[in-house]
Structure formats: C-alpha cells, structure tokens
C-alpha cells in the first residue's frame, strides 16, 4: 500500500469518527490580482558622486568629467536635477540676476549652472538646464522608456562655473566652494 493511500484511509476514518459523511475533494478558484506599479530607481555609476571643477578659467565638466548615473525600472522614467540652494548672479542673458546653483565658502557664494543629459547617449538623447529666470529643477523633465532598452538607461549631470559668477560680479577668493544637487527620477 502506498503512503498516500494510507493517508487517505486515515483521513476518511477521522471523518467518520467525527460524524462527517465520507469526504470528497473540492476546489474553488480565487481571482488573483498582481499589480505591478511603474518603478524606477537611480544609482550613481562609478565610485564618486562628486562634480568637481577648477576655475579659472571659466569652464565646465562637459563632455567627459560629469557624474554618470543609471536609471533602472519597468516603465517610463522622468529625470530632473535641482541644486540644494540658489544664488542670483547678473549675467548677459539675465542682467538683473540669473538663478544659479549656489556653492559656498565661508558664507561667500559662487554660482554654477547645471546640464542634465538623459538619456546621455543613444536614441532619444536629450539635455536640460536650470530655468535661470527662477529657482527650480532643470527643465524640461527628461523622459525615456526604460523597457525599450532592457530596463536601464544611463544619464549624466554636468557642472559649469566661472570666476566672475558672484553676486557682485567681482572675483571670489581662492578656496573650495561646496554645494549639492539632488537628482530625482519618477516612474510613470
């Protein structure tokens, strides 16, 4: 006698003992809903998340030395970047003051611009910058369909700075000016 037969006999005996009629197998289907929400995550590529630039001369990290990142997800992803604080710098385009990212040394600021590339290369490659006329994230938001490329697209963020990007237009004192930028990715 097989082990399963012995288990069935025991089960029936138990049913008889407790007054139940002879047991028969039954099944019922239960609807199952699996909701997969759009998701996206960001990871910095490489060992550093530091945007570094020496001035003078005026310059930028374009094209090679920006910070690279990878966006991974299962849907479309939209990416923006925003400095942690802003400073108004008179420039040619905005004589009354361009809203730039703010890096600080001993309370003295210098301004910087951002360029966000996403996707950085390949089909649909696009760039965005800070709005300039107001504080806020890079515009426009840059979107890409992640599934079209196996769920991942790479992006890059760049820094641009000039020694005369100070609130007065004067020269900043030597030293290291510090700030930070938040990159936000949203799935949809």
């Amino acid at each position: 006698m097989q082990r399963s037969d012995r288990q069935l006999i025991a089960l029936c005996a138990a049913a008889a003992l407790f007054g139940h009629p002879a047991l028969a197998a039954d099944e019922q289907d239960v609807p199952v809903t699996i909701t997969v929400v759009p998701t996206a995550s960001i990871a910095i590529i490489g060992t550093t998340n530091l945007l570094y630039l020496e001035i003078p001369p005026a310059g930028s990290t374009i094209p090679a030395s920006g910070v690279n990142f990878a966006i991974t997800g299962n849907a479309n992803a939209s990416v923006t970047a925003e400095p942690d604080s802003f400073v108004s710098i008179p420039t040619f385009d905005y004589p009354t003051g361009e809203s730039m990212g703010r890096a600080v040394l001993n309370g003295n600021p210098v301004g910087y611009r951002l360029r966000l590339d996403f996707p950085a290369v390949g089909p649909g490659a696009a760039s965005s910058r800070l709005p300039g006329y107001e504080d806020g994230p890079t515009t426009p938001p840059l979107a890409a369909n992640l599934m079209a490329t196996g769920g991942t697209r790479n992006g890059r963020i760049h820094l641009e700075a000039s020694p005369d990007w100070t609130p007065t237009g004067g020269l900043p004192l030597p030293g290291i000016y510090v700030g930070s930028v938040t990159i936000t990715v949203t799935a949809f």
């Binding site: 039954d26 929400v37 996206a40 890096a103 510090v178 700030g179 990159i183």
Partner: protein
C-alpha cells in the same frame, strides 16, 4: 453539513522593485577657485600690446653745433686725433648747449596695463632681446628697419597709485630723464606702490613687484616705461634717426596671499 474546502491558496503579490515610483540621488558639488591674476594691455597709446616703437628724432644742430664748437674752443681743428673728433662731435655740442631744442629727446614709450586677480600678483618685465652696451651693461634691444640696434631701459611701476596715474609733469623734457639716474621723478609714492628697472644683466628682467590684489579691490594698474638714449648703442655712437621697434615680455604670476 460542514463543508470542507480545499482551496488552492495564492498569495496576492504587489511586485515592486522599490517601495515607491520615485527615487533620488545626491551629487556633491566642489568648485575650487584657484589663485589667479590676469593682465590686460590695451592696444593703444604708444604701445601695441607689449610691442613698441622708439622714435629717434633728427638732430637740428649740424651748423649751429659746429659754430658753437668753434666759439668755445672745444673743436680745435682738423689736427685733432680721431678720439677727440669723436668726443667733440656736433652731437656733443648739441647736447651741451641747446639740448632740448637741438637734440630732441627720444620720447619714452608708456605702456599702461591692468591686473585683475584674487591673490598675490607678481609682475616682471623682460625685453624680448638684449643689447650689450660699450659699458658692458645689458639693456633691451630695439631694432631699426636696417637692423641697427638701440638699447633701452625698461622701468615697471606696479601698482601705480591710481588708474589715471601718469608720470610727473616735466618727465618728457630733456633734463628730467635724458641724464637718467634712476627715475627719481616718481615723487612720493605710497609704500605699496613700487617700481623696478632692468639690472643690466644679459637675459635678466626687472626684479619682481607684487601686489595684494584683495587689498587693491581685485584690480590694480601698472605702467611700463620704455626709455632710451641716443648713445645706448653697442659702440656708444649716437643712433641714427628713425624708428626702432622692440618688445617686452610681461610676466604675471599669482599665489595665495
């Protein structure tokens, strides 16, 4: 009747790679401002950048000089030896008697420049080429179109007291600088406003002059003077009238204060 139910239980799962549909990353920004200084030389005035033209004017005293020589006995006739003729030439009469009129001076060239910076700025001026004078002293070398050389002295004043600073009145007249003894004509200057000249050594520029650009409001002004005399030649004979072209190298360095 008690229904016994055997159900196939299935776990309803919400599959998410992350807890939400948005994610963030922080990128740090470091902007290193280096100590620096930059110089701007307007291409106008007497100089074209750091190039310049020294004009040796014609003499006016050929006849008058000889006449004065006769009167004063300085020129004693054709029996003079060559050394005497050279020494008591008409040039010397002109210089001696009617210097300003008869021997017009070589006007100095004035090259103003502006320095901007955020650190300690140091300036030196070096001629692009040097000429050895009969005195064994080396000065800058300017050349006429035919290749004749003329020596020149470079005097750099940095920082000058103000943007509109010019040399003192009278400097363009003969006696003020033709018998140059070290440019006392700067007058009374603030302690931070200094000047330097070529040391007379082959290849050596002016001693360095420094300014704290922060104390100067990140901007300071300077002037290079190019000064020449007719007899600053390799053989000591007066240079022929004409234009002599030269150039100096202006070197500026910056370092932390």
């Amino acid at each position: 009747m008690v229904a016994v139910l055997f159900a196939l239980l299935t776990v309803v799962a919400f599959a998410t790679l992350r807890a939400s549909a948005a994610d963030r990353a922080t990128v740090h920004v470091n902007i290193t401002v280096l100590p620096f200084a930059a110089v701007d030389i307007p291409p106008d005035g007497n100089g074209q950048g750091t190039g310049f033209i020294l004009h040796v004017p014609s003499k006016r005293c050929s006849i008058l000089g000889a006449f004065l020589g006769l009167l004063t006995g300085a020129w004693t006739g054709p029996w003079q030896n060559a050394w005497s003729r050279e020494r008591y030439s008409e040039d010397n009469y002109c210089r001696h008697w009617f210097a300003d009129w008869a021997w017009p001076v070589i006007r100095p060239v004035r090259i103003p420049f502006t320095v901007t910076g955020n650190a300690q700025a140091t300036v030196t001026v070096t001629p692009s080429s040097f000429l050895k004078l009969v005195t064994n002293r080396y000065l800058g070398k300017a050349l006429a179109q035919n290749g004749d050389p003329l020596g020149y002295q470079s005097v750099v004043h940095f920082p000058v007291p103000s943007a509109g600073y010019a040399w003192l009145r009278g400097w363009e007249s003969y006696e003020d600088w033709n018998d140059w003894r070290g440019w006392g004509g700067f007058g009374s200057l603030p302690a931070w406003s200094r000047w330097a000249k070529l040391p007379g050594i082959n290849g050596a520029g002016t001693p360095p002059l420094s300014a704290d650009m922060v104390l100067r409001g990140m901007k300071a002004w300077g002037v290079i003077y190019i000064v020449a005399r007719r007899d600053w030649t390799s053989n000591g004979k007066p240079a022929h009238p004409g234009d002599y072209a030269g150039a100096v190298d202006l070197t500026i360095t910056a370092e932390n204060r």
